[in-house]
């Protein structure tokens, strides 16, 4: 902890620890008095106001006085390397002020100064196809390169790919999560979570220990879009949580970019559907976004490698489509071992990728 907390801040934390309250209710309680600590410590004095906000709130606040222990909370936060960020703090994003129900406190891990950087959200389906994967990587890379901070939700699929790509580019990234800052959901993203905490920022409005409940995700989506200049949807099916982020972004007047997909692919149905919305912009190349924001993209570092004849042969066979090993054998006419060796060399150069099932692609 950089500093000791004021009475008021403890009151805010106490309210945050009551899981049953909505953000709006918390904000209303805090607005009852200039000294919210009085409301929290002696709620019985404000019973009328509290009852008008919601029934049972008075009892909940009374209970929280028992259950919330300041000392223990501070020790726990220190142990997990997290800290609270209040509205009065300089790092608290100004962008949240336009929200009707801006969280009174955020729980953070990592570098909170990133919140004031120029952010761009990349969201999409949790089960991306190869196409969605490639699109996400391509855009995340380009946007990181022009020093956008990539914001996403650390979910499975597109979110995780966006974060990971940003980190691979050595760029910071912000993950807005839908559970306590001490929980990793989904669990398979543990390594990514730790890396973001170290090199980027993880924020949440949920109190430590709160589980990832289904209704949290739509709530956190509004923070994702609020933080960002624009939102890019790389691949989304119908009925996707991504739609909620897009709706929030539209409400907040953010720019929305959509990457069109294959019209037959279920995973792209959502993005393609949204293309009909005149408020959305179409991005078929990262440059579209960079142009929109008048950013100068870095020179593509192509043809930097000196390729041998065989390597060029293999590379050009892969330019239109992914190929199976056997196809490559036939197309290139190289011998078995020769082709294997060429593929490894190209792969090591980072020019091509090996895909599951003996496929290779660029």
């Amino acid at each position: 902890m950089k500093r000791s907390l004021s009475e008021k801040e403890f009151a805010i934390l106490k309210l945050a620890s009551i899981e049953e309250l909505t953000t709006r209710q918390r904000n209303e309680i805090l607005s009852i008095s200039d000294r919210p600590e009085e409301v929290v410590d002696h709620p019985e004095r404000f019973s009328e106001e509290l009852n008008s906000i919601g029934s049972g709130i008075l009892d909940r606040i009374l209970d929280s006085r028992e259950s919330f222990d300041e000392e223990r909370f501070l020790r726990y936060m220190e142990k997990i390397g997290a800290y609270p960020l209040f509205r009065e703090d300089p790092d608290y994003p100004k962008k949240f002020e336009m929200l009707e129900d801006a969280p009174s406190v955020l729980f953070c891990r990592g570098d909170a100064s990133l919140l004031s950087s120029e952010c761009f959200a990349i969201v999409g389906t949790r089960a991306p196809t190869r196409y969605g994967r490639d699109v996400t990587e391509c855009f995340a890379r380009a946007l990181s390169d022009v020093s956008f901070t990539i914001v996403s939700g650390l979910a499975r699929g597109v979110d995780a790919i966006a974060h990971r790509t940003a980190l691979e580019e050595g760029a910071p990234t912000i993950a807005v999560i839908g559970c306590g800052v001490d929980k990793v959901y989904p669990a398979e993203n543990k390594e990514l979570f730790d890396e973001i905490a170290e090199k980027g920022l993880i924020i949440t409005e949920y109190f430590p220990g709160v589980n990832p409940l289904p209704f949290h995700f739509p709530e956190r989506n509004r923070l994702i879009s609020a933080l960002s200049e624009g939102v890019l949807v790389t691949e989304a099916g119908l009925k996707s949580g991504t739609m909620i982020t897009v709706d929030c972004a539209l409400d907040q007047g953010k720019d929305i970019f959509l990457v069109p997909g294959n019209i037959f692919s279920a995973a792209s149905k959502g993005t393609n559907e949204m293309l009909h919305n005149p408020q959305c912009l179409i991005a078929t190349d990262p440059q579209d976004i960079l142009d929109f924001y008048k950013k100068e993209g870095k020179k593509q570092k192509e043809n930097e490698h000196q390729l041998t004849t065989e390597e060029v042969l293999v590379y050009s066979a892969l330019t239109d489509d992914d190929r199976h090993f056997e196809e490559l054998l036939d197309i290139t006419g190289l011998g078995m071992g020769e082709l294997m060796a060429t593929l490894t060399r190209l792969e090591v150069l980072g020019v091509i990728k090996k895909l599951p099932g003996n496929y290779y692609g660029i």
């Binding site: 398979e188 199976h324 056997e326 060429t342 593929l343 090996k354 895909l355 599951p356 099932g357 003996n358």
Partner: protein, 510 residues
């Protein structure tokens, strides 16, 4: 009167001599067998009584004591029936000639006096020969098995009567004629040929390398990709069994009672496919009598584990010692025996529980955790012993029907043999035969790679996130690839190819 007959028994694959002493005393009629016999030997009394009577002899109505010496070793099996019967006839003075003392007598009797074949004969004959016994009387049905051993006289009899007549000199029997091993080898074909597998060139190439260098291999692919068929073909590209190897294999098969009696010797490399429900004793050997398990039956051949992750973890872990030492020690209450277990391990698995991970046509329905959990069933130490991991994918319909000539097993085998020859010369002064057996010191000595390859490996480790322990494996496989090409030195291309055979280390698999 006392009679003493020579016979043999087995402990594991080693035969030891058993003296069968028969004494007939006055007393209540009874046959008493002592010297730690098992149930089959105890019942021998009834078989011997009936068969002596049914062969036209008279079973003494006295107290018959049969002692199996050495008395402190537990004996098992039914092969003492014939020696006991001969002993009884000698002790009751119905067999006058003393020639039976020159022979080692083995055989199980049926009630009518006919002889039945016994298990483990090959192992007994070899041990007997090593211990200086060279005349044997055995059941006629075991004749084929005996015919491959040179330097001993083996007489085959069909019944107790025939055995007695032979010993009395009344019937003349020719010893079993020695047969050359190559005769038995001649018309032996494997059911599946490499040319029957259409397409799958990556997997076939990996198989060829695996066999050439004696590497264990893991095939990863969706259901129906042809992993099992590929595995079954592998024996057809392995070098032919040498006579010594054939004897080794035959011994185990004979002891396990799996030998084809007409043939008498195993001429094909064994291909064993235990089911994934196999218990540990079934895999490594055991049971009350410490019988050989699948790993020993696969000696000099292939142990194929289909759907490896489905096997019980513990069962898989028990494979580590045989994979390392080439033999297995089975310890049971009654005995501790060593069986050979020098096999090539071929494993097959799906890329994920539903099998469609990475497929272009089907959608994988597994969660990342489910995939990780599935792959984690293979422990690191076991994976450490598998040098080559290769993806096999479903063959396109067109390929199945294509008329393109596929290379035959014979052609591949020839290359394999050449590579093996190179290795034999290389390791002439080491106790190993193939590249896969090289330890770290030998790898450093024989697997020097050019600087260019060195730097490529370094980048590959970083970029392809290969695990550190993959490096020695890659070098060994690169050595084999160079040997297949007849190259003295490992070249960069060889290392590059070897890196392709580390599928499981890839990012998309973790």
């Amino acid at each position: 009167m006392l009679a003493k007959v020579n016979s043999f028994s087995l402990s594991g694959l080693d035969g030891y001599k058993v003296d069968i002493e028969i004494d007939i005393n006055a007393g209540l009629p009874k046959v008493e067998i002592i010297g730690l016999p098992d149930a089959a030997i105890k019942e021998s009394a009834e078989r011997v009584t009936s068969s002596v009577k049914n062969s036209g002899y008279h079973f003494p109505i006295k107290r018959v004591i049969v002692n199996l010496a050495p008395a402190d070793t537990k004996k098992e099996g039914s092969l003492f029936d014939l020696p006991i019967a001969i002993g009884v006839l000698a002790a009751s003075e119905q067999l006058f000639s003393k020639t039976y003392k020159d022979y080692v007598i083995l055989g199980e009797l049926s009630l009518d006096g006919k002889l039945r074949p016994i298990n483990g004969l090959m192992a007994i004959l070899i041990s007997g020969m090593q211990q200086g016994y060279n005349k044997f009387i055995i059941p006629a049905e075991n004749a084929a098995e005996a015919s491959f051993i040179q330097g001993i006289e083996v007489y085959c009899v069909h019944s107790l009567r025939e055995a007695v007549e032979f010993l009395e000199g009344e019937a003349k029997i020719e010893p079993v004629a020695y047969r050359d091993f190559s005769d038995a080898m001649r018309d032996d074909r494997y059911d599946l040929d490499f040319s029957d597998v259409k397409g799958q060139r990556t997997a076939k190439r990996a198989m060829e390398i695996a066999v050439a260098g004696g590497h264990n291999i893991l095939l990863i692919g969706p259901p129906g990709a042809g992993k099992s068929m590929l595995a079954k073909c592998v024996v057809s590209i392995m070098p032919d069994l040498t006579f010594q190897e054939a004897i080794d294999v035959t011994k185990v098969y004979s002891v396990a009672g799996l030998l084809d009696e007409k043939k008498g010797i195993v001429t094909k490399r064994p291909f064993r496919t235990p089911h994934h429900t196999a218990t540990i004793p079934a895999l490594v050997g055991g049971g009350m009598r410490a019988k050989p398990g699948e790993v020993s039956l696969a000696n000099h051949g292939v142990l194929f584990l289909d759907e490896v992750p489905e096997y019980k973890r513990q069962a898989l872990e028990t494979l580590r010692q045989p994979l390392e030492d080439g033999e297995i020690t089975v310890t049971r209450v009654l005995q501790t025996v060593k069986y050979p277990a020098n096999f090539m391990l071929i494993g097959s698995m799906n890329p994920c529980p539903c099998g469609n991970y990475g497929s272009k046509k089907h959608v994988c329905t597994c969660t990342p955790q489910a995939i990780r959990h599935y792959l984690n069933k293979l422990s690191g130490p076991l994976l450490d012993r598998i040098d080559i991991q290769v993806e096999v994918d479903a063959v396109e319909f067109g390929e199945l029907r294509s008329k393109a000539e596929e290379e035959s097993s014979a052609a591949v085998k020839e290359r394999v043999m050449r590579a093996r020859e190179v290795q034999r010369k290389r390791f002439a002064r080491s106790p190993i035969y193939t590249n896969s057996d090289m330890n770290n010191r030998l790898i450093k000595h024989y697997c020097q790679i050019p600087a260019e390859a060195e730097s490529m490996m370094e980048t590959a480790f970083r970029k392809l996130s290969l695990s550190a322990r993959a490096s020695f494996r890659i070098l060994k496989v690169a050595r084999t690839i160079a040997d297949l090409e007849g190259k003295e030195n490992i070249e960069t291309a060889h290392v590059a190819e070897a890196i392709q055979y580390r599928s499981l280390d890839r990012k998309y698999f973790s």
